[in-house]
């Protein structure tokens, strides 16, 4: 099981490095970050056992990640809509 996750992570790293050599315009960032999120999810669910943790722990982790997105989204909604700054 752990080895399967390990090989998946290595394979995804190889894919993301390979893709970075092609010019996809803005898609480069989208693809690279999607793969990074996928890799992080694998690590959290299986290496960190969150899939098998209690409901309480899962909710706490989800809330933490949710707050990170709120911070990023609200800050960007300000900066990106005030181009004179």
């Amino acid at each position: 099981m752990y080895f399967a996750i390990f090989f998946a992570l290595i394979a995804l790293t190889a894919v993301t490095v390979t893709i970075s050599f092609f010019d996809l315009g803005r898609l480069n960032a989208v693809v690279a970050l999607t793969i990074a999120v996928f890799k992080a999810t694998l690590v959290i669910l299986y290496f960190m056992h969150l899939r098998y943790s209690s409901r309480l722990t899962q909710v706490v982790v989800a809330a933490g990640v949710g707050w990170l997105f709120i911070m990023i989204a609200l800050t960007l909604s300000d900066y990106l809509t005030r181009s004179w700054l």
Partner: protein, 234 residues
């Protein structure tokens, strides 16, 4: 006293009802700590996003000067160390002292390999005056044009490339500090494991350190594409 004899001494702290409850509390507490870590690394990621949207050409130029091979190698090393850490936690749960020590040692060695490669990268940056500060120099893009089709060449402001390197050194430096702390924690675990302090019943420190180690791996999983990969094109 008698009911404790079946159990390893001190496996269960007196303020917990059961080993399960103790384990649950420890895991939850560590995750709460890791969320505070997510938040302060998150602030740095936010800084990166804002400055990248402000100075896209400079970030592309700065990113081109990083060695993608070393970055990819280090990513693989860190993923490997996460595997050995996960195996160490597993063998602590089944109570195999020998394999626990083996995999903890492997994890620490891989962590040190990562730090060594990072040291090589940093040295190279210092030699090229890419460390931000009074010594920072960015060669005129007109003299070093179009690094493999870099469309940002020719309109790059060195001071803004310096900003990229501020963020690069702040984020990778903080990450490296976490790696050093993690390697130190694992060194302590190895000593404790050799002394037989961990059993199938009591192995919470190994699990907690494992969570920390995987978290540091996750931070790198995001740093690698942001700093090394997505700046290769506009």
């Amino acid at each position: 006293m008698a009911e404790n004899h079946a159990m390893t001494p001190h496996a269960l702290a007196h303020h917990f009802d059961s080993l399960d409850q103790q384990r649950e509390a420890g895991t939850l507490g560590m995750w709460v700590f890791l969320i505070t870590e997510i938040m302060f690394f998150g602030g740095l990621f936010l800084t990166y996003i804002l400055y990248r949207s402000k100075f896209p050409h400079e970030f592309v130029a700065g990113s081109h000067a990083l060695d993608i091979r070393l970055g990819a190698f280090n990513t693989a090393v860190l993923i490997g160390s996460s595997l050995t850490m996960a195996l160490a936690v597993y063998y602590s749960q089944v109570g195999s002292r020998r394999l626990l020590v083996t995999y903890l040692t492997l994890t620490m060695l891989l962590g040190l390999v990562f730090l060594g490669v990072k040291g090589i990268e940093y040295t190279e940056k210092f030699e090229h005056h890419h460390f931000p500060g009074a010594d920072f120099q960015w060669e005129d893009p007109a003299q070093a044009p179009a690094l493999d089709g870099n469309p940002g060449a020719g309109k790059v402001d060195g001071r803004h490339v310096e900003m990229f390197y501020w963020i690069y050194f702040a984020m990778t430096g903080l990450h490296a500090l976490h790696m050093i702390i993690g390697a130190g924690l694992i060194a302590v675990l190895i000593v404790l494991a050799v002394r037989g302090r961990f059993t199938a019943e009591y192995h919470m420190p190994v699990e907690i350190t494992g969570l920390y180690w995987h978290f540091v791996d996750i931070v790198w999983i995001f740093l690698f594409p942001l700093l090394y990969l997505i700046g290769r094109h506009e």
